[in-house]
Amino acid sequence: MVLVKAGKPIEDCWTHVENGDALPEGPVTVSWARWQTDRDNIAKSPADLGVRIPNTVTTAEIGAEAARFGTIIVNFPNFGDGRAFSQARVLRAQYGYKGEIRATGGVLRDQLQFMQRCGIDAFEVPERAMAEGWFDALNEFDLFYQPAEDNRPWIQRQRRGAN
């Protein structure tokens, strides 16, 4: 897999710690389950902290403390399961979350622009993605029928401007 941000492959600076493993130095992510049970210990660590959330966690559960995470990794267990679209969108729109939201799992090229519009700004994609030009998909549409979290203009507003 390769991590892509702003259309470019980047080094993943986060260490994704398994449940039960000791926390290493530097920025780490932990699972939502571990955060639930071991929050006090983890919180003592001075390093940057991220969390990996299953798509069954409601935004009401994570929203209030979202701001303390440097990255929130949302999951698409398969490309047909779109719960994380809502998770990302609500984190941005209702909880004002400004950190990274990263998509993992069964991500399709043709979903990337939907993800970006919902506020996802980092993508774990298969190695072939760069050679196949997946991130061209972020510019396939420049017109949108609804407001979203990417702050791009949308048609209803553009029409009012045109009037």
């Binding site: 047909g80 779109g82 939907f114 919902c118 549409f141 029928y145």
Partner: protein, 550 residues
């Protein structure tokens, strides 16, 4: 009707280009069939038994002559010379080649049509009353709100990968011609006590394995909140709808599990905490969309319009019968709403040839204001025929296989494509519809209003649960059998029909339906319809008639 502006046109061009590239990537192997499947489905392309099937959206069932002519062109150039109108006001082509599909979509884009979200687990084409804008009994034309929903739901970034498909219908009449209660979200335009027009929002209707009627989510919603409220409801569904079992994934199952009160609480809570300001509709936006649906320039009634009509009905019995069943009152004096039947006896319901499509386009210009509607009962509606022109109009229809005087009668049968085309079906629907329609035609006037609906499998595309008489194809050890239900209804008194008894063989369907109808004719009082009789006398007399006393 709604006409695209530069934004709509550019958007659709971008969509066609995207799809063309998806097909290219599939062809060179960058996309596996598993990866391509959800993409083609979201463009209305199914792989059926014999070929690809392409479903084109007809937003809220309204068509222009240019669109009809393009439908004819596509039927001729890419299919076998005909199309098939569906129970959701769309059109399907059954003999399509994958490599042609980008060009077909580009052709349709030139007449402001598309196949976006006509399949897949996303928000589908919004349907409406085929008499919208011309019927006297509506609060206001519901189609501007359908168009507002169409735009909002098109490539919605959050709701394009839902647990299951999501269907919305909007109606504004006391008489429900849009089957609002069987939709995931059903919307009625409604006045509040102060007389303001807003929306009643229903949720959780649907057919399939678990037929359920929608319940009231909110009794009255101010117009400006339409989209923000829908967004709240869809978010609750996207978050909580089941994804572990495809048969439990529709929102109706969530509503059933939570109960309507908890569902309402969840939607209202979400609605209260989200920011409405961007999505709420200001009055100018609503007015600008409504302007597209402004009434045409109606002329005063002809002085002798009624006299001409009466003379024609007196001299031509067939025409008189057609007027009785296929013509409906118009809100404008001097005009009528006319139904062109796509149910000629012994033919597949809803099929329409390229020649017929072109004729319909011509007739809509010659006798109307260039507008045609598709009904969920798979017929076509001409909304604006002048009274004195009805006879001449009828004669052209009749000469071209669309003048059958059976609208709303027993031979006006809804049927899904069934095992003749569909890879999901357990049994054929079309031959059963053809045979039953012919069988009942002789006494359909005596029977009166009658809704017979046939599905070839439990997915219920033919709406069998809500037929006055419903027929469901089932497979028994490789043989086609048919389970019959009675007493269902899709109108404002919607109800799921009751199963009469064990399924019967295909050659016994006509006889069993005869027996059900005999009971109805004997027992009905005061012109009540079959569902009313069924509510009054219960299932037993019907069961006994078909299967004998126990």
């Amino acid at each position: 009707m709604y006409r695209y502006d530069e934004f709509d046109r550019r958007f659709l061009d971008e969509r066609v280009a995207q799809y063309r590239d998806q097909v290219r990537r599939r062809t060179i192997g960058q996309l596996s069939e598993d990866e391509f499947r959800p993409l083609r489905l979201r463009n209305g392309l199914y792989l059926q038994l014999h070929a690809y099937m392409l479903r084109i959206a007809v937003p809220y069932g309204t068509l222009s002559p240019a669109q009809l002519r393009m439908m004819a062109h596509v039927a001729r150039k890419y299919d076998k010379g005909y199309g098939h109108f569906t129970t959701r006001q769309n059109i399907q082509y059954n003999w399509i080649k994958l490599e042609d599909t980008p060009d077909i979509m580009a052709d349709f884009a030139t007449v402001e049509m598309h196949s976006i979200q006509t399949s897949g687990n996303c928000i589908r084409n919004t349907t409406s009353d085929p008499f919208a804008g011309v019927t006297a009994d509506e609060i206001e034309d519901p189609r501007p709100y359908c168009e507002i929903i169409r735009q909002w739901s098109t490539l919605h970034p959050e709701f394009s990968w839902l647990p299951r498909k999501f269907k919305i219908a909007v109606s504004a009449s006391e008489t429900d011609r849009a089957a609002v209660h069987i939709h995931d979200i059903g919307i009625y335009l409604k006045r509040n006590e102060a007389g303001e027009v807003g929306f009643q929002i229903l949720i959780g209707g649907g057919l399939g394995r678990t037929p359920l009627m929608a319940q009231v989510l909110r009794d009255w919603l101010p117009k400006e909140h339409l989209l923000s409220y829908l967004e709240a409801a869809l978010r609750v569904y996207n978050e909580y709808g089941r994804r572990d079992n495809i048969f439990k994934a529709r929102i109706k199952i969530l509503v059933q599990a939570l109960g309507i009160d908890k569902m309402r609480e969840a939607v209202e809570t979400e609605w209260a905490r989200m920011d409405h300001t961007k999505l709420d509709l200001n009055p100018e936006i609503i007015a600008s969309i409504r302007a597209h649906f402004a009434p045409p320039a109606y002329a005063a009634p002809a002085a002798d319009g009624d006299a001409q009509l009466n003379a024609a009905t007196a001299s031509d019995k067939a025409f008189a019968r057609w007027v009785k069943y296929n013509v409906h009152p118009h809100k404008q004096p001097g005009y009528a709403i006319a139904v062109a039947s796509l149910k000629p006896l012994g033919r597949p319901p809803g099929d329409c040839s390229a020649e017929q499509l072109e004729l319909v386009a011509d007739l809509s210009e010659q006798y109307g204001f260039g507008e045609v509607r598709v009904t969920h009962e798979q017929n076509l509606v001409f909304p604006d025929i002048r009274t004195e022109n009805l006879y001449a109009f009828y004669k052209v229809l009749a000469a071209n296989g669309m003048g059958t005087a059976n609208a709303g009668l027993a031979s006006d049968i809804i049927a899904c494509p069934g095992l003749d085309y569909c890879s999901l079906a357990n049994a054929r629907s079309i031959p059963v519809a053809e045979s039953l329609g012919k069988h009942l035609a002789a006494r359909e006037e005596e029977i009166g209003p009658m809704k017979i609906k046939i599905s070839g499998c439990i997915n219920a595309c033919g709406h069998h649960h809500v037929g006055h008489i419903g027929i469901l194809g089932v497979d028994k050890n490789g043989e086609e059998f048919y389970q019959i239900t009675v007493g269902g209804s899709a109108d404002e008194n919607s109800a799921v029909g009751g199963i009469v008894g064990r399924a019967v063989a295909s050659d016994q369907v006509n006889g069993a339906v005869d027996k059900l109808l005999d009971v109805y004719l004997k027992q009905r009082v005061d012109g009540e319809d079959l569902p009313a009789t069924y509510r009054r006398i219960g299932a037993e007399p019907f069961k006994e008639a078909v299967y004998g006393a126990r």
